[in-house]
Symmetry: C2
Subunit: 242 residues, 2 copies
């Protein structure tokens, strides 16, 4: 193997990157399947963006995206345990028993619904629904979801819980006006979907919390607060949350 | 990112490798879920083999294995189309519309059933059921299968067919004796499962075929022939098929 050293190390090159509304990790939903608004598109670098490489992909409703958690710093020391947010953030589990981004090789894996294969001048991009990656995440591979082998409806998933509890989201008048002025299509619906899952660390959701949070969505810092199980969207600022 | 160049290239290091009965590509079944005999075990390199890294994994029935198709030579030229064997081997499809190993970054993805977490002196290996990788394939990552997000029972899988047609497998007296003498447990059942799927290229299965084939399983070259839809196991030789 040309590119393989004695240690078994290999070099990989992303085939493209994904555009999502999520400017930072905090904004990314814990389950991709719960977000259906906002624009998600995979762009490919040449030569991977040619039409031939996608011939037949329209016949599949879902795709696997293998991607790189490139916002996670590479850790020279292996940390075998992580604290999954869904378990309250203070229970340790083995990294290979979780989907945590803090893992060797930093590879992520998500199933997404294929919405549209965009073709223009012989180049291709893929519009998808509900991805759970930060904007500009490098894509390592795209594969079709093959129901016969990939769907295991009787799988047992241990401590990984089912759908998270959904919260009511209310918007201030100011936020409503700012959302309207933002020019981002379906922005209100997207904010609603993201915040209804309460992105706060799990230990925070157990208590009264006066803090004003910001999530980075579509170039805006969306400010919000959780009061008695209801998420209040307060106002928007341009740019990333400080 | 330390390890990331301007091109976005990253270096990954396998966390381990998988032991399977399949000494060569030809022996690997096209669906992992159809093989339930034979010994499949994932071994991890230190420090990834420590018990802590697998804490909680017993709670999951299935795992995702991300692996490297390291028997596929790295191709300096991107070939955007492949000929899936299931389509007869002469229909071209885009590589991103297939699970072909001939793909950029050569990453493979399989769901496997977790049978047992082996712990000895604080080190861990995983016994699994029915993997579809060649023996000693490098493993890049292991993740739990999370039914709520990974199982999409209503996914549409286009030209990827359902379960392959199964063939009857009969054994010669000589083969039976050799299998008994091999010392490989469940060897007859494993051969039966592998050959019942008829590993010949699809264009071959349409016609009468007098050829004697060999598949490399568990250190043996298992010789067989297909006659009128029935697979005949003739005899075994030690070593890899020539």
């Amino acid at each position: 193997m040309k590119d393989t050293e004695d240690t078994g190390r290999v070099t990989i090159s992303p085939v493209g990157f994904i555009r999502t509304p999520f400017d930072e990790k905090f904004a990314v939903p814990r389950q991709s399947s719960l977000v259906h608004h906002g624009h998600f598109e995979i762009f490919f670098y040449p030569p991977y963006d040619c039409e031939e490489a996608f011939n037949g992909i329209d016949e599949f409703s879902h795709l696997w995206i293998t991607f790189l958690f490139d916002r996670i710093p590479e850790d020279p020391v292996f940390r075998p345990m992580v604290r999954p947010p869904r378990l309250g953030g203070n229970t340790f589990k083995g990294v290979f028993a979780t989907r945590s981004p803090f893992r060797p090789n930093r590879t992520g894996l998500s199933v997404v619904r294929l919405v549209e294969v965009k073709r223009y001048n012989g180049r291709v991009s893929l519009i998808i629904d509900g991805a759970d990656m930060v904007n500009n995440t490098p894509v390592i591979d795209v594969k079709p979801y093959i129901k016969f082998v990939d769907s295991v409806p009787d799988a047992v998933s241990g401590f990984a819980l089912e759908a998270p509890k959904m919260h009511k989201v209310v918007f201030s008048e100011k936020a409503m006006l700012q959302i309207k002025d933002s020019g981002v299509s379906d922005f209100k619906e997207l904010i609603e979907e993201v915040l209804s899952q309460d992105p706060r660390p799990a230990y925070r959701t157990q208590q009264t919390d006066e803090r004003v949070y910001g999530v980075g969505l579509c170039g805006f810092d969306v400010k919000w607060q959780a009061r008695a199980e209801v998420i209040h969207v307060l106002y928007l600022e341009e740019g990333m949350p400080g």
